[in-house]
């Protein structure tokens, strides 16, 4: 089918993102919630679903949920409630999941996602608290499956968007944004490969201009953004092909096979999704008072999209640089801390992006461990700004030397290493005379119009001055002396 047919359709995507919280203990009991651990060691009678056991809510789960909700501009429900979602699966110990169906803890809100240089707000439907299931291992043995319940009961937040995403690119940006945010907030690793962030994608298509939503299919458990892109691409084409051939899209739950690149129906775990939700009688409503809410508000860091605006508008950084500096909270905070010490914001950005972030990558250390202190870095930038050291020399020679001798003041070390540029016109004038006297043919050529030779004369000046000639002054001097 020609491309133009596909272009007549619009893709409509809604996401359900599961975020595994980095709490110490599980959602409803005191088992260790950390990743890993020998199979079936992070368990207790409660997470095993033994007879006679009852849940008790982990306060930290509610706190993290509120922080996420506040960051995303949600309305926080001060009396949200739990429900039971009933279905059978080997890794679901109680035969039901404790979740929030009727009154989730956060309602509405939006995540700003970055597409190129613009931001688009993706509205959320809600965020709710629930618990994770255990793990079934199916590929170890032809006859048996193996169940590990370490993960059963680990706290999750489910973020449900409105169907406002329009492409795989937007999905990618949303997932990246979500990952960035939960890491900023410190509530989750946001690690898709490890499973601490998972995505179910609801995909439908409709002819452009149509306002009704098409029938959607849910692609479950996409655990990498690459898979998500491919799955969406496949599914969109599948649905359009089906409609164009006169068929109707049936609402199905799908599984994406990364090896074949194909989505296929998941045979339903639960007949026609009848989860028989009802209020969880073992847990009373989650009551949030002003003291609690204020505490979560205070715990919020500066958010990436706010920092982006600040870095672009106040500090005049490019989109690219601002994007890099907001990538993680540590970098943004470091940049801001440096900016507090120097007026040279752009230079500070360059220094961090070109030198300090690569250093972090190579050494695997933290920014706080960078050998030079912030005041030292600020002094370094000041030297460059004052023209005392050329940019090239500063980065190529002074900075490495400072990193070897971090206790030395940049000015003192530069002087020691004779890196200070001179703008002394007498001295430079003498050197200029020398250069011009030694190259009469080039001088003549220059005066005849070969102005490119200025580079040669500058190079000679640098050589004779051992790199200390201040470029601006030198250029002006040479130009004066070479005047016809």
């Amino acid at each position: 089918m020609s491309n133009s047919i596909y272009e007549q359709y619009e893709t409509v995507i809604g996401l359900e993102v599961h975020v595994q919280l980095a709490t110490r203990s599980k959602a409803f009991c005191g088992d260790d919630a950390s990743f890993g651990g020998e199979p079936n060691t992070h368990v207790s009678a409660i997470s095993l679903g033994h007879p006679g056991t009852l849940p008790r809510l982990n306060k930290q789960q509610a706190a993290y949920a509120v922080r996420l909700g506040l960051a995303l501009g949600c309305r926080i429900d001060p009396a949200s409630a739990f429900d039971r979602k009933n279905y059978f699966y080997a890794d679901l110990p109680k035969g039901y999941q404790i979740t929030q169906d009727r009154r989730p803890i956060c309602v509405g809100g939006a995540l700003p996602i970055k597409l190129g240089e613009t931001w688009k707000e993706i509205r959320l439907h809600h965020i709710h608290m629930e618990e994770d299931a255990g793990k079934s291992i199916h590929d170890q043995d032809p006859r048996f499956s193996f169940i590990d319940l370490n993960r059963a009961g680990v706290p999750l937040l489910e973020v449900v968007t409105e169907p406002e995403l329009r492409s795989a690119e937007e999905v990618d940006a949303f997932m990246s944004g979500m990952q960035q945010l939960v890491r900023y907030l410190g509530i989750s690793d946001g690690n898709m490969e490890e499973g601490s962030m998972r995505c179910d994608c609801n995909v439908s298509v409709r002819r452009r201009g149509d306002t009704r939503l098409g029938e959607r299919c849910e692609i479950k458990n996409l655990n990498s953004m690459r898979y998500a892109r491919r799955a969406i691409a496949y599914e969109v084409k599948r649905q359009i092909d089906l409609i164009e051939a006169g068929g109707k899209v049936a609402q199905e739950t799908l599984h994406f096979d990364p090896d074949t690149g194909v989505t296929s129906p998941l045979r339903s775990k639960e007949d026609a999704h009848d989860y028989r939700y009802f209020p969880e009688p073992d847990l009373p409503p989650v009551l949030l008072d002003k003291i609690f809410l204020d505490a979560q508000e205070r715990a919020l860091p500066a958010l990436p999209w706010h920092l982006y605006v600040q870095f672009r508008n106040e500090y005049q950084l490019t989109d690219y640089d601002a994007g890099l500096l907001i990538e993680d909270r540590e970098t943004a905070a470091y940049f801001q801390a440096l900016c507090a010490q120097t007026p040279h914001k752009k230079a500070a950005a360059n220094l961090i992006i070109n030198k300090i972030l690569p250093w972090r990558r190579e050494t695997g250390a933290e920014l706080a461990d960078f050998p030079l202190t912030l005041p030292s870095l600020a002094a370094f930038l000041q030297l460059i700004d004052e023209g005392k050291v050329s940019n090239a020399i500063a980065y190529q020679r002074l900075l490495p030397a400072l990193m070897e001798n971090p206790s030395k003041a940049p000015l003192a070390l530069a002087q020691e290493l004779e890196l200070i540029q001179t703008a002394d016109t007498d001295l430079l004038g003498e050197l200029a005379d020398q250069v011009l006297a030694a190259n009469p043919d080039k001088v003549a050529a220059y005066k005849k119009g070969k102005t490119g030779l200025m580079g040669f004369f500058m190079g000679e000046m640098m050589r004779l001055s051992k790199g200390q000639a201040d470029p601006k002054t030198t250029t002006a001097l040479l130009a004066e002396k070479l005047k016809v």
Partner: protein
């Protein structure tokens, strides 16, 4: 050894050196053996109980206080209450052989005060039933007439106390499962306020209805046991956090009580005339003692059972989903894949009544029916609770018969579930409203001599008044 009806008498004889705890346990074990045909016990902890009695006697000899306030109290626990490293099966095949990893909070508190658990008692499967006939381990028989039911679901516990095999027993009450068998067996049966005793370690049936309850021969003992078991618990989010009064020490009631009764109940067509007679006599006795007894209207009586069965079967269908043969319990040998394993294990493991309730519960919760059944029943529950609490704001207690009749012959109702459900009509109100209620022996039936029990209900967390007043009537 004489037969005891009160802990205080036992403790007096222990103090005086007339008996030892070990002798007491040996005596109860003999009673258990002698009444084996009643099938009250699923498991008897003979050696363990004797050993524990021995060590408590030794502790008592060196320092009496260290043996605990319940030194000399021998109890049994219903097969829905967890006791660490002991089996608990819910009266069901599906949990046969299961050993609990922990003890119920209520059990831990009693053990900490020196109680001895002599065995686990028979009950209707997962506490669902009113006759003790749905147990996988066979029916329990009424000691007053072994051709008759003891009531249910805590039938074994009631008979254990009735037949003198222990001094008191723990049962559970979701719709009357302590009070009704207490009435049928002629003993005291107490259901506390919902949330008064922690449900941690109680196999869940109807989560918003269940409470551990007490069978005893004396109000004093029921009060003491309640006092020790009750109170907030870190494992139960629904357990009330109010302080626990020293019930056992506040049993004097020296004022005029106001008691309400429901004419609709006393005139209910299902009420046996002999039972009605006993109720009326009881009310006359109260009036004669100077208390005020007045009729109040309660328009919801006939809605209680339907609403109760919708809500409890819904909760039960969910609570019983965990019995799947994967992590514990019965697993069918017949299956070839996981799906088949689920179905066969559950179908072979559960009895007919449990399956019936699971299916009904799934139905009332299912898509399209939730609003008409479940949500509706929740609304009716609020009406019932509000009206009941309103009555209790004007009266100290509400009087009710416990059951419409006395113990009937084994096998009579098992074919008619609706008839069985309707017989709960007088007990279910207390569970619907979450209020405390007690069944008190009130003589025997004029025609057949079988025990009759009457019931008093009190305001939430007002067990103190309920127990004190009850002591006036059953000293």
């Amino acid at each position: 050894m004489k037969s005891y009806a009160k802990l205080s008498d036992i403790q007096a004889d222990l103090r005086a050196g007339q008996i030892t705890c070990r002798q007491l346990v040996a005596f109860y074990l003999e009673q258990i053996a002698a009444t084996k045909h009643l099938n009250a016990y699923i498991e008897v902890y003979a050696d363990e109980a004797l050993q524990r009695a021995q060590s408590l006697d030794e502790r008592y000899a060196t320092d009496p206080a260290s043996a605990g306030r319940l030194y000399g109290m021998v109890i049994s626990i219903k097969d829905v209450i967890c006791y660490k490293d002991h089996q608990v099966t819910g009266g069901s095949h599906i949990l046969e052989g299961f050993t609990s990893l922990f003890s119920a909070t209520a059990v831990e508190r009693l053990l900490a005060e020196g109680a001895i658990i002599i065995g686990r008692t028979n009950c209707d499967e997962f506490a669902m039933g009113s006759t003790n006939e749905t147990s996988y381990y066979g029916p329990t028989k009424n000691a007053a007439d072994p051709s008759r039911i003891p009531g249910g679901s805590s039938g074994g516990a009631a008979v254990a106390v009735q037949a003198g095999t222990c001094l008191a027993a723990l049962g559970s009450d979701t719709g009357g499962s302590v009070r009704q068998p207490a009435a049928f067996c002629g003993v005291i049966g107490l259901k506390p306020t919902y949330g008064r005793i922690s449900r941690h370690g109680l196999l869940a049936y109807g989560s918003s209805f269940d409470q551990i309850g007490v069978f005893s021969h004396s109000i004093q003992d029921a009060a003491l046991l309640l006092e020790i078991m009750a109170g907030a618990d870190e494992y139960d989010s629904t357990a009330g956090r109010r302080p626990v009064p020293a019930y056992s020490q506040r049993l004097s009631f020296d004022r005029r009580a106001r008691i309400a009764y429901l004419p609709e109940a006393l005139e209910h067509p299902s009420l046996d005339p002999g039972v009605r007679q006993a109720c009326l006599q009881f009310l006359e006795k109260l009036t004669g003692a100077g208390h005020i007894v007045e009729p109040v209207s309660f328009e919801w009586l006939d809605y209680i059972i339907p609403a109760y069965y919708v809500l409890t079967t819904a909760e039960a269908s969910s609570n019983l989903a965990r019995y799947d043969g994967i992590r514990y319990g019965y697993r069918s040998a017949d299956a070839h894949n996981l799906e088949a394993a689920y179905r066969k294990s559950r179908s072979e493991g559960f009895g007919a009544e449990a399956k019936r309730r699971i299916m009904l519960g799934a139905f009332v919760l299912s898509a399209g029916y939730y609003d008409a059944y479940y949500a509706k029943a929740q609304q009716v529950r609020r009406l019932i609770r509000d009206t009941t609490l309103d009555i209790l704001s004007k009266y100290d207690f509400i009087f009710m018969p416990t059951a419409p009749n006395v113990a009937w012959p084994l096998g009579e109702t098992i074919d008619d579930p609706v008839a069985m459900y309707l017989a709960d009509i007088f007990t279910v109100q207390a569970n619907m409203a979450g209020i405390p209620a007690i069944a008190l022996p009130a003589g025997n039936h004029p025609d057949n001599g079988l025990p009759i029990g009457v019931q008093l209900m009190g305001a939430p967390f007002e067990e103190e008044a309920l127990l004190a007043f009850s002591k006036q009537i059953v000293p």
